[in-house]
C-alpha cells in the first residue's frame, strides 16, 4: 500500500509467524478475543500442524526480507496429530545449524509452544520476539552484501 510520507524511522523488524491450526493459531485468535495488544510486526501464515513446517518456508521468509520467524505449535504431548510438534522441534534444531552456515543468526528463528487457551502468552511471545529481533537489527541477509 502506498503513501504516508516516508519519515526515517527506527528499524522495525518484519516477523513471519507459522502457527499450527489447533493450538497457536487458535491461541492467537484468543489474544484477539481478549483484546491483548501486541506489536503489529508479526504476519501469520496458517499451517495445519507445526510438523508441516518446511525448512524452505523459513529460509524463504528470511531470504525475502523477514528479520525473524516464529513457529508456534501445541505443547509437547498435546499435538492434535500426535507428534507433529516433535517433528517441528527436530527440524528447527537442524535448521538452526544451517542458518549459522549461511551467516545468519540462529536466534532469528523461534519455536514456541502456545496452546489454544494461551492468548496472553501469544501476545507476550510476539512482544518478546519483536523486541529481541529489533535488538538484533536487520537480517544479515539484508546487510551482509551491502556496500
Amino acid at each position: 500500500m502506498a503513501e504516508p510520507a516516508k519519515t526515517p524511522t527506527a528499524f522495525e523488524p518484519r516477523i513471519v509467524a507459522f502457527l499450527c491450526h489447533w493450538c497457536t493459531y487458535t491461541g492467537a485468535d484468543l489474544a484477539g478475543t481478549t483484546r491483548q495488544q501486541y506489536p503489529p510486526n508479526v504476519r501469520v501464515v496458517h499451517l495445519m500442524c507445526s510438523g508441516a513446517i518446511d525448512v524452505v518456508y523459513v529460509l524463504k521468509a528470511l531470504m525475502d526480507g523477514a528479520d525473524g520467524v516464529l513457529i508456534g505449535g501445541c505443547h509437547p504431548g498435546d499435538c492434535h496429530y500426535q507428534s507433529g510438534n516433535f517433528k517441528a522441534r527436530r527440524r528447527v534444531a537442524i535448521l538452526k545449524n544451517i542458518l549459522a552456515q549461511l551467516g545468519l543468526s540462529a536466534d532469528r528463528v523461534w519455536l514456541r509452544w502456545i496452546s489454544a487457551s494461551e492468548g496472553r502468552l501469544f501476545a507476550e511471545t510476539v512482544r518478546e520476539v519483536t523486541e529481541a529481533v529489533r535488538a538484533m537489527g536487520p537480517s544479515e541477509f539484508k546487510t551482509q552484501w551491502d556496500a
Binding site: K6, A28, A31, G32, Q37, P39, V45, M48, A52, A66
Partner: protein, 586 residues
C-alpha cells in the same frame, strides 16, 4: 485467469473502528486478478451473504476472499453461501483481520489498516491457486466393537444392540462385569452391586445382536472411521495358541476401565508388608463376604472380626511429588459408604477416616455423607497419616488433626487405603493399537474436554468409563449411553463425507523412497511397489502435512495448502514493498 472477489466485513466497529475499510478496498481493487471488491457492515448477516452471492453471479467470480473474523467463526458460513450459487466451497478463503489484526492493534489505525491489506493480499495469493474439491465419501459398516466389558462397555454395547446394530464385545477376563463384580453395595442407596450388574450382564450374553468374546484381546487394528478391521485373539483356555479372527466394524468403544494404584507403592502405610493394610476393593470383598455369610467383617490376617478400622483417603492421589497429581474422585464417597456399612455390620466397632477434603460431587451424596458422619458416628480426622506399623497383633498409626493441631496416635485392626484410581493395565497397548491418545496420567484423552467428551483423538474411536477419567457408576453409565448415542448418529449415515483437504502425490515426482510412510501418524501412506510411487489413503489422511514437509522430492502436497501457496503468502509477508508497511509505535 481468475476473477477474484474480495469482501471486507466491518463487523460493526470491530474491524471498521480500527481498519480503514474503504481505503483497503480501494487498494485491493488495484491488485491483479481482483474482479470485485466491496465492504459491508456485517458480511455474515443475510443481506451481507446476499451481496456475496449476487457478486458471484453477476461478476462470474471464480475465487473469494472474505476478510472478516477468524476462519474458525464463519468459514463455513461463506463456503455454504458460495456453494448455494454454484461456486465450489473450497474456492473460498478467509482473511483473518479481526482476531489477528483489528482487535490486537486497536490504538494503531494506520498500521492495522496496512496489515489488514497485507493479510488480504496474502490470502489472495493462496486462494488463486485453490482447486475445486469434492468431499471424500466413504461407506459406513454399521457394526460396533466394544473393548472391555465392565459396566461401561456392557451399557454401551446393550444400547447399540438394542438400537439394532451388531456389536462385538471383547473382554480380557473370563467373566464380564469388570470392577463392579468386586463391589459389595453402591452409594448412596446401598443397592447390591450384583442387582445392577447381573441383569445387564445376562442381557448382554443373551442378546441376539451381541457377539461376546471373553478371555480375548484386540491384537491389531487397521482401517478408519466406518471401516475398521480388528483382529481379536481368544485364549482357548487349554494352553494352546490363541484363536484369532478379524471383525469388520465402523466404530470402536474404548471402555478398558481402571485399576487401583498398588498398595505396595505406599510403603509409609505398610502397603504390601502388613497383611491388614488393604485397598478399597479388597475391603469391598470383605464387606461382600460379610453380607453373604451374615457375619461381621473379618480381617485378612487372622479372620478376627474388626473393632477399629482406619480409612486413609488420598492414598496416592493429590500427591504430585510422590504419586499421582489428580483427584481420584470416587474415593471420598466409597470410603464414607464403607465406613457406614462397616458400622452396620460390626455393631460397636469404631471407624476413623483420615482425609484432606471430603469431595461429594455426585447426586445426593453430600446429604448421604453428612448423614453418615452425623448420625452414624464415623470419625473424620483432617490430616495425613505419617506412619503405620505393626505392634503385636494390632496396627498403630501416627497422624495429626490439622484442625486442632493435635498429634494423634491410633490403634487399629485394619487399615483401608483409598488408593488412587489409575488406568487399567494394558492401556498403553490399547492406546497405540487404536491410535487413541492418552494424557500424562495414562487416561484416554477426549477430543475436546467440553464439546467432544466421548470422542477420542481418532475419528470413529469413542470413550466410555473410568479409562477416560475416574468416575462413579452413575457417571460411567451416563457416559457409556452418550457414547452409544454418538455412535448411533454415526450409523445413521450410509456414507461419511470427509474433508477433502488431504495430501495428494504427484507420481512423476515421487521416488517411492518411503520416508512418508513412518512419518505419517495415521498409517495413510503406503509405497505401491508395482506402481513405483507412494500412495495416500484419503480416508485415513488427516491433512497434517507431516509427509509434505518430510518429502525430499516435494512429491506430496496438501490440497489447497500446497507449498506454492504457502510460499506465495510468505512472499507477500516477507517482501512487502515499503518499510512503512511495518512501521509501528509500540
Amino acid at each position: 485467469m481468475n476473477r477474484i472477489g474480495v469482501f471486507l466485513c466491518w463487523c460493526g466497529s470491530n474491524i471498521a473502528g480500527t481498519v480503514d475499510v474503504h481505503r483497503v478496498i480501494e487498494e485491493v481493487r488495484k491488485l491483479p486478478e481482483v474482479a470485485h471488491a466491496e465492504n459491508y457492515m456485517y458480511m455474515c448477516s443475510d443481506p451481507g451473504q446476499d451481496l456475496v452471492k449476487a457478486a458471484i453471479r453477476d461478476k462470474n467470480l471464480t475465487n473469494l476472499v472474505v476478510a472478516s473474523c477468524s476462519p474458525r467463526m464463519h468459514e463455513n458460513t461463506f463456503r455454504k453461501a458460495a456453494a448455494s450459487v454454484g461456486l465450489n466451497p473450497y474456492l473460498v478463503e478467509i482473511a483473518n483481520v479481526r482476531e489477528q489484526c483489528s482487535w490486537v492493534h486497536q490504538q494503531q489505525k494506520d498500521v492495522a489498516t496496512r496489515k489488514a491489506y497485507n493479510i488480504i493480499k496474502a490470502t489472495i495469493e493462496k486462494v488463486k491457486r485453490n482447486a475445486a474439491l469434492e468431499a471424500i465419501r466413504v461407506p459406513v459398516t454399521k457394526r460396533a466393537l466394544v473393548v472391555g466389558a465392565g459396566i461401561a462397555g456392557i451399557t454401551a454395547a446393550l444400547d447399540l444392540a438394542d438400537a439394532g446394530f451388531e456389536t462385538v464385545v471383547v473382554e480380557r477376563e473370563a467373566e464380564i462385569g469388570g470392577k463392579l463384580r468386586r463391589i459389595s453395595r453402591t452409594f448412596p442407596y446401598h443397592e447390591p452391586a450384583d442387582a445392577i450388574l447381573a441383569p445387564r450382564a445376562e442381557a448382554l450374553r443373551d442378546h441376539p445382536n451381541v457377539t461376546l468374546y471373553t478371555s480375548s484381546e484386540v491384537t491389531a487394528v487397521g482401517g478408519y472411521v466406518g471401516n475398521f478391521d480388528v483382529e481379536v485373539a481368544t485364549d482357548p483356555g487349554d494352553g494352546g495358541p490363541p484363536e484369532t479372527r478379524t471383525e469388520k466394524v465402523g466404530a470402536i468403544v474404548v471402555s478398558t476401565g481402571y485399576d487401583l494404584y498398588p498398595v505396595e507403592n505406599l510403603g509409609e502405610y505398610g502397603g504390601g508388608r502388613l497383611p491388614d493394610v488393604i485397598d478399597g476393593l479388597a475391603f469391598e470383598g470383605l464387606l461382600a463376604d460379610s453380607f453373604r455369610n451374615g457375619e461381621p467383617v473379618r480381617r485378612p490376617s487372622d479372620g478376627r472380626p474388626v473393632r477399629d478400622v482406619v480409612f486413609i483417603q488420598c492414598s496416592g492421589s493429590r500427591d504430585p511429588e510422590n504419586h499421582k497429581p489428580y483427584c481420584s474422585r470416587i474415593c471420598c464417597l466409597y470410603t464414607n459408604k464403607q465406613a457406614r456399612l462397616l458400622r452396620d455390620r460390626n455393631p460397636g466397632c469404631r471407624a476413623w477416616v483420615s482425609f484432606m477434603d471430603v469431595r461429594t460431587d455426585c447426586k445426593n451424596t453430600e446429604e448421604y455423607c453428612q448423614q453418615n458422619i452425623e448420625e452414624r458416628g464415623i470419625v473424620y480426622v483432617r490430616g495425613r497419616v505419617s506412619r503405620v506399623w505393626q505392634e503385636g497383633d494390632r496396627l498403630r498409626l501416627w497422624t495429626a488433626d490439622t484442625l486442632t493441631g493435635e498429634k494423634i496416635e491410633l490403634d487399629a485392626d485394619l487399615v483401608v487405603l483409598a488408593t488412587a484410581v489409575v488406568p487399567a493395565a494394558g492401556y498403553a497397548e490399547v492406546s497405540s493399537l487404536l491410535r487413541a491418545g492418552v494424557d500424562a496420567n495414562g487416561f484416554f484423552q477426549e477430543s475436546h474436554i467440553k464439546l467432544r467428551p466421548v470422542e477420542s483423538s481418532t475419528r470413529g474411536v469413542y470413550l466410555a468409563g473410568a479409562g477416560q477419567y475416574p468416575k462413579d457408576i452413575t457417571d460411567t453409565v451416563a457416559q457409556a449411553q452418550a457414547t452409544a448415542s454418538k455412535i448411533q448418529s454415526l450409523f445413521a449415515n450410509e456414507e461419511l463425507a470427509q474433508d477433502p483437504l488431504v495430501c495428494r502425490v504427484d507420481p512423476d515426482l515421487c521416488s517411492a523412497c518411503g520416508i512418508c510412510v513412518p512419518i505419517c501418524p495415521y498409517g495413510a501412506r503406503e509405497v505401491d511397489a508395482l506402481a513405483g510411487f507412494s500412495r495416500v489413503n484419503e480416508a485415513l489422511c488427516e491433512g497434517c502435512g507431516a509427509c509434505v514437509a518430510a518429502c525430499p522430492n516435494k512429491a506430496c502436497q496438501l490440497k489447497n495448502d500446497s507449498m506454492v501457496q504457502v510460499v506465495g503468502e510468505i512472499e507477500v509477508f516477507a517482501a512487502e514493498e515499503g518499510e512503512e508497511d511495518y512501521t509501528c509505535a509500540c
